[in-house]
Symmetry: D2
């Protein structure tokens, strides 16, 4: 994965020598202006069409895009267009699977907003289909392209923090409630994808305590505990209800500790603090001292993650390789969210992710989940 990082860093927004990938955007949610802008700025991509059912949404986008970008309300026409190599899907989660499946069938490469699909089964089905067709399937886990997240991943990989003891994450602010998805489906993919990327493993156990405070049956606060086979434990607090925005992650390791705050001018802070433990000297006696050294905020470049993500998508298509935000990673994220739902449905019970997968029946698509 480091070679990807290198090529992204060295050549972003994209390898000039490769022909730009002709992309259509399908579905125009509130976040699409960013997607469109970055596709236009990315040298490796060529935005050729945008597609949505709503004429007014199309008209709005048209005002900001070049004249060469076609607008259409017909998904079928996009999929039938041989001039379009890839689609970027930004529709509600419940439609990810049918649209992505149709696009893959039509031979398109597919970028799909996070989470990859509304169930592990659907996500796996898409991955199988993409593999069979030889097409790139990439979930939009944009934080995997965030410079602070990557800086931290490098610190972890170099053993700078020592053994990771535990991680505590808070992602809370006021709004926006999603009418058809829980806070775990909305915000969880961010933290879950970051954890998977940093730790390289999926938690063994997941337990969650949630409450539907404002809307009935739409959990808007979640306290989620994750336990890993490696011994790491994590807590993730997610909420659409909070007095002030908080994006705070602390990582405690045996050598150093770290704070990550995506909203800060100093997003990564490394604390040379810890416990020095001497071997027991007498029966049952331990001697420990606390150590507080320098605190360093490493400089992290301010490159826009979405631009790097689009470049990786295009490069993966042209070079025939996996994108950093791979379908495999996207499946693991969906498994984690599903485990939250299962814990919630079982009074907060600890779900064992290594247990044999239950039959697909009980795992419904997101809209059912919020009912």
């Amino acid at each position: 994965m480091s070679s990807v990082a290198l090529s992204l860093t060295a050549r972003a927004p994209g390898p000039a020598e490769l022909a730009p990938v002709r992309v259509a955007v399908v579905g125009l949610g509130y976040w699409v202006p960013n997607l469109v802008r970055n596709l236009e700025e990315c040298a490796a991509a060529d935005l050729v069409a945008v597609c949505d059912k709503r004429d007014d949404a199309l008209a709005k986008v048209a005002r900001r895009t070049g004249a060469s970008v076609r607008t259409t309300t017909s998904l079928a026409s996009v999929l039938a267009d041989d001039g379009i190599e890839a689609v970027a899907i930004a529709t509600p989660v419940s439609t990810h699977h049918p649209i992505a499946a149709a696009a893959l069938e039509a031979g398109k490469h597919v970028f799909v907003e996070k989470p990859l699909a509304g169930s592990t089964a659907s996500a796996r089905e898409l991955a199988r289909r993409a593999a069979a067709r030889g097409r790139v399937l990439m979930p939009g886990h944009t934080f995997l392209y965030s410079p602070p997240v990557n800086r931290i991943r490098a610190l972890l990989a170099q053993g700078e923090l020592g053994e990771v003891y535990f991680i505590s994450m808070s992602r809370v602010n006021l709004g926006l409630h999603q009418p058809d998805a829980s806070v775990a489906w909305d915000l969880g993919p961010h933290d879950f994808s970051i954890l998977r990327y940093w730790l390289g493993e999926t938690p063994r156990y997941v337990a969650a305590t949630c409450r539907s405070c404002v809307l009935p049956s739409v959990p808007d606060v979640a306290f989620i505990t994750l336990e890993y086979d490696s011994g790491v434990i994590c807590h993730v607090e997610l909420s659409w209800l909070a007095p002030s925005k908080l994006r705070r992650t602390s990582i405690v390791g045996s050598r150093k500790m770290l704070l990550y705050d995506d909203t800060s001018n100093e997003p990564v802070r490394v604390f040379d603090s810890g416990v020095n433990l001497k071997d027991p000297e007498t029966f049952g006696e331990y001697r420990m001292t606390y150590r507080s050294g320098d605190i360093v905020s490493p400089h992290v470049p301010a490159t826009e993650p979405l631009l790097l993500e689009m470049a990786d998508f295009c490069e993966a298509i042209r070079l025939g390789r996996e994108p950093r935000s791979s379908a495999a990673l996207g499946i693991e994220v969906v498994r984690m969210i599903e485990a939250v739902d299962r814990s919630l449905a079982n009074d907060g019970a600890r779900i064992d992710l290594a247990a044999p997968a239950e039959p697909a029946g009980p795992v419904a698509e997101p809209q059912a989940r919020a009912a």
Copy 2:
């Protein structure tokens, strides 16, 4: 309880008209200098003796106390001294019960460092004994005398926040590991007593995920989830391992939200923010808007909580009433900590505090707990 608050506020450090209570301090831990200083400053108390097994600890205290304070290594002589009306016990948790029981038997009023005892059974036994003897038994839940905590309690009581949805608490810093107790027994009493005091109820369910990072079998990080019959859910993060000290509590209510940080110059911040929800207009359609108004940091006086606590102890003795930090509250706190231990022993299972009490057997004293 509001009458207590009033008299404490109006007449602290103590009602001058009542004769000072003659107090002995038993056990000289690291926190005792504060206790001694406040007993000396409290007009309602008269510190007459300090007792510890260690001569050097006594010598150290003697340097800071007036000449009239007797030092002794004999607990028996303290308990036999009719000139001593009350003892303040600051010994390790495992000795709380035997020393407090002996003191009550000797007819002394008892203040005991938090937690009240090492098990619910022991705590209840002490409470029964105090009631039978007509003596005050008071656990040292000092935060119940903290001005910010009381300001928040008043805001909650007045309905200023509306219905409380959830509470998230973090109490982390680097150190100090306790050799014979988990982080839940060491730091948990603070947050659990505050929650009991604010909400007036004990959680129905407790679940905990812990890890013993530094010392084997001494959990030094705990993620604890509490669920209340009223619907409130809480998360409490406790740790002796943290990159920077954090004392952060957020309370989210239906009308307003609040942040409490005991280390800040503005310990209480009230956010006039929330969600306005209109009734469903069409089938299944909810309409909500977010509201962000003023943020207020109410002025909170800087009175030292321990001084108010000592005054309440003395006044409770003289007036024959319950102290705010009552034995009953102390028992509930121990029940909550025990539930954390039980959850921990059962792989993080959700413990039902309303279930019939299990036999006393498996609940051992704290030293066993850390074994």
Copy 3:
């Protein structure tokens, strides 16, 4: 001015019933994309042309503007175009006067980037010309449209702070050095216009200590002291060299105090703190006590100032009235900057702004100033 505030608040981005003003932008500096975007979003304005000498700058802008916006390298053609009612000038300061003068002569209304002109004499000449022609001349003091600045102005007008004792302002960050202007000409207009707007008076005395740290003869740090006839004293620290960005203004009044930080989520914080002074009781004895009450961060809407500014420009044109950022205010700001230069040229001497104006000779245009 309060009526302006009301109409801006109530009807921004502009009164729909008035025909949009047809505007051309002249000069494409780094800040122009914001200007163009806001002109396009402002219902009261109709962006019809952009003009710059550089073809590449024009091409870049063209990509982001609608097809109806004409680009041209000929200022003369813009001024000769009867379809253009107003020009917004965003060229270097030294060209403000000739271009604005030509535009006024051509009968255009003129918005000109701050500062209004490179000398008081030039600024006055433009104002006279605009008055003679019956055209609006508006310097771009955007902070006069900033919601926090207006909230503070209202607090001052209502006497909420009592008598203003002093104001301390810091506006520092790393970069951007201007090659042909000092930091006082670059950043000073922000603070000077805010002070003029808040206090309604021009300082009587100005003294400045500066240093040209990086480039010879281009002062990049300035400590400026202002004294007002009302007794208010101010200090303004300006710098392009700073370890971290700081936008901090404190206002100390006899009743309350206030902090203003444009970069904060809570841009205005009002402190109910002060000194209570009793009359002297004995010869020469004063008794004072300090008071610390609540701290309030009033909610301030996040409307973009530049949009309100464009709306005010257009409304002033259509309704034939002064804009809030008037030429008269712009002249006062230039007088203050000139006084900084004069103090600098006289070893930091205190300049009396009420003294008879020196002959125009020594006051050169900005490029000379930095020489």
Copy 4:
């Protein structure tokens, strides 16, 4: 001076092999409890007596000091006592000279609260007297013993910041007004002594703008500008009126920049930021780029400065050397404060400290200054 630093670090609180210096404290202001406590903790000192005119102040101190500390209302008896080697004077500034002079005449070594004396003439007279008598005369510039201040001094000495361009200091909070001294005499000694210690030079020019906001003729806010022959310029803002406490110093150098905040958990923050300037390539063209690297908060030990200061005082006496906070430095600080007064008396004029000293006449003692 680095050898002093070493010995202080290595052997604080004092060289055990030297006999403790027998010290009496004269004058019991609000700050004396700290002085007494540190003298008692300092192994190099032996507190033998405290002296004050007020019996109640003596009684209060007696409660906290060991039985061996004598209390007296007679300064004469202290000075006549051959068992007393040194006095620490903590009386109002106007009495520094007479008491210190009498103590030196009696053969005592003298520590005197900052500032050294109420005028440069008085300060110099004391220094001459101490030199003639072979006694240590040490002003209490405690910040010279502050670990963060020394860390910064080392960074400056090592050239870590490059050439110092400018320094900006703010020392403001609400209170405490001094009835007989301006804010410059009260707070100025802190910043002026720090600057003298860091830069090793006295400013060439001093200019000040002040206002007496609350009490007539007692300036409680001061904006002070300092210019050094080396080119460094400084601004110092002092005030007893401020919405929130601020202790903020920024140092901008050609290589790095630094923030110092004595109230922060991270008192020193070093910013690897700056401007890279290439030589002019064409006529008058400069090319510069901005550089933002890591930010480091070096670990600074939390040793109490006053303890180190007392140890230095005693060691200077025993070893017959200058203390770090020397009389010479104390004189320079008084010269700087006097220059503030002179600027104030001359409408903020820039005072040239290198100009021949004016006759002693006009420079009155502090009480006159505030009249």
